[in-house]
């Protein structure tokens, strides 16, 4: 039986009078790679923001591994296993590349609330144990230094995986655009996600770079046993990569299915190219 990693039930997000996402439902099974596409302004990023807790949906429920996470804070949602990247790169630009990745691991020290949340919903998860990490961090106690070293090693490992090891000590903002996107993915991976959400990972990349990224995404998916949800405008990228595709237009789900089905759906063609009457 396949397990639903993410399940959205009739989610609606409104900004004042504007309905950005209108009773949207979707599900993702474990190990799937799902695409979310749609014309500009269709509400794709809003869906992502709602899943990751940046926006609170007005109605509907979001379940992650069967646990209701609707309305939880972004940090809690991240700590229980959903990581994301941004459409407009949001690296910590004044910090070095490796520090950026290490920020992703910081929640190891402060995940008490998330563990409590998980334990409350499913007693299989371990009970949180509180340790005075802040004090040991300031006093640089061996227990802290050990974790710090492990973090650095893991961050370096992730950078190596993304082919960025030589940039480790560079300032994040000094990297070329395509590399910055990769740093963002490495940073997201550092938070130990089981669901990775990529917002236009190939935007602004040339065909060669985006092909390379496509390979990397496939590889990390296997390596870290991830489930991936992505938005992408590069149709070649989406059609090659995704097992199923959801199509949004004006905040509504207009089509859903395999790449082949979606490509031949009349509604999708209309949404992208306009109505036949006007064509």
């Amino acid at each position: 039986m396949s397990e639903n990693v993410l399940k959205i039930d009739g989610m609606t997000v409104r900004f004042g009078g504007l309905t950005a996402v209108d009773s949207f439902s979707m599900y993702i099974n474990k190990g799937e790679l799902i695409g979310l596409i749609g014309p500009n302004g269709a509400g794709k990023t809003t869906v992502f923001n709602a899943i990751t807790g940046i926006y609170k949906p007005q109605s509907g429920r979001i379940f992650f591994k069967g646990i209701d996470i609707t309305g939880q804070s972004p940090q809690l949602i991240n700590q229980i296993g959903i990581a994301r990247t941004f459409q407009n790169i949001r690296l910590f630009s004044d910090m070095s590349v490796i520090e950026n990745v290490m920020v992703g691991q910081h929640s190891y020290f402060t995940n008490g609330k998330a563990l409590k949340f998980l334990h409350k919903h499913n007693s299989e998860y371990p009970k949180p144990s509180w340790k005075p990490w802040l004090v040991s961090a300031i006093l640089k106690m061996p227990s802290y230094l050990k974790v710090e070293k492990a973090m650095k090693d893991k961050a370096f490992e992730l950078l190596k995986r993304m082919g960025l090891q030589k940039y480790a000590d560079y300032k994040a903002s000094s990297l070329p655009y395509g590399q910055q996107r990769k740093v963002e993915i490495a940073r997201a991976l550092a938070t130990n996600p089981s669901l990775l959400i990529l917002d236009e990972p190939a935007a602004g990349m040339n065909p060669h770079e985006s092909e390379e990224l496509l390979e990397t995404v496939k590889e990390i998916m296997k390596e870290f046993s991830l489930t991936i949800l992505l938005i992408e405008h590069d149709m070649k990228f989406v059609m090659n990569l995704c097992e199923r595709i959801y199509v949004l237009d004006y905040g509504r789900l207009i089509s859903h299915g395999s790449p082949y089905e979606v490509q031949n759906d009349k509604k999708v063609i209309e949404a992208y190219l306009g109505d036949e009457v006007y064509a």
Partner: protein, 352 residues
């Protein structure tokens, strides 16, 4: 350029600390006036370093620092004042119990001053950290002003506008500089830990930090409370340095916040060494500029001294620094031996 190894770094740092030690133990040679200024430099540095933790490293713009300094100053002063002195000072309204019957040592009084300030930082931070940017600045400014006005009117606790007099001048060079060392070690260690990375991440992009699993509110609160503690400590040292306290806006009010803000902006927001450099700059320059407040005679002409002139010149200097060093002297970086070495290497190359 050559990279300085860890060993040389350590040796230089120890040598530097020993140098400071000898300087401080012989500071009396400079005379009473200058040794008091050297003490003030350390007090200002503690204020600046604790302030830069919030405004620089965490990137939340607080204007409430003077409030915490005032709380630390009053708390510690009330604890160290002798019982007779308290009876003498509080003639409008007697001091409330238990404060009127206790007198404790300087070190515990300083620590309690810091803890009380940290507690108030928590109380103030809890509602106002829900605001961001300028709104937070205004809220903290208002809270600091509320604290000042409370001090001005709670005659039974703070002696109101009459202020506190005859505080024991406990603060000497050693107390001030030892506390500075503690402050720098704690805040420096915090900055270069995982928590410090999280704080810097928050300062750059709070939304991205949240999505990376960082509880922004709790981390900002942590920085705010730690900063409040050291602000309280600096207030305690300040009280026992100046020996009289009063709640005028120019002494422990909003002006003090702006002075400390000037220090950290000159030094570079987010840099601990920068904050100390800014404090040194501010302490010395504001003393030197006092000459402009008295009459000056140049070539037989007498320029009459104008009160407040030194502040005017200081602001011009401040503007000049901001034009040439837009991110302050140090920016977000720290001054280290590598930088000093590189600097001298550069000078050498230019001279050749």
């Amino acid at each position: 350029m050559k990279k300085i190894s860890l060993k040389i770094n350590l040796i230089l740092t120890i040598a530097f600390l020993i140098g400071i030690y000898f300087f401080l133990s012989n500071v009396n040679i400079l005379g009473d006036y200058w040794s008091r200024i050297v003490t003030l430099v350390a007090i200002y540095s503690i204020m600046a370093v604790s302030y830069t933790l919030v405004n620089g490293i965490t990137g939340i713009f607080s204007l409430g620092q003077a409030g915490f300094i005032a709380i630390g100053a009053y708390t510690s002063a009330l604890l160290t004042l002798s019982i007779q002195q308290k009876e003498m000072s509080f003639f409008i309204q007697p001091l409330i119990w238990p404060l009127n019957s206790i007198q404790i040592g300087f070190l515990p009084a300083t620590i309690i001053g810091g803890l009380v300030a940290a507690f108030f930082a928590f109380l103030i931070g809890y509602p106002s950290l829900r605001l961001t940017g300028d709104y937070f600045a205004i809220a903290t400014l208002a809270f600091a002003e509320i604290i000042r006005i409370l001090i001005q009117n709670l005659y039974g606790v703070t002696n109101g506008t009459l202020g506190l007099k005859g505080i024991n001048p406990y603060t000497n060079v050693w107390w001030a500089w030892s506390w500075l060392l503690v402050t720098v070690i704690v805040i420096g260690s915090l900055k270069y830990s995982s928590y410090g990375r999280a704080l810097r991440a928050i300062s750059e992009d709070p939304v991205a930090a949240k999505v990376m699993g960082i509880d922004v509110f709790r981390h900002q609160m942590m920085a705010f409370v730690i900063s409040g503690f050291f602000a309280g400590v600096s207030g305690a040292l300040y009280a026992h340095w100046i020996t009289t306290l009063d709640p005028r806006p120019t002494s422990l009010g909003v002006m003090l916040t702006f002075y400390v803000l000037i220090m950290i902006v000159i030094g570079g927001l987010g840099s601990i060494t920068g904050a100390i450099l800014g404090a040194i700059f501010f302490a010395f320059v504001s003393q030197w500029l006092r000459i402009f407040e008295s009459n000056i005679t140049i070539f037989g002409f007498t320029i009459p001294g104008v009160p407040g002139m030194s502040m005017l010149i200081l602001s011009v200097l401040f503007i000049i620094v901001m034009i040439f060093w837009r991110r302050g002297l140090m920016g977000k970086e720290e001054l280290n031996w590598q930088k000093i070495y590189n600097f001298f290497k550069k000078v050498e190359v230019q001279n050749e």
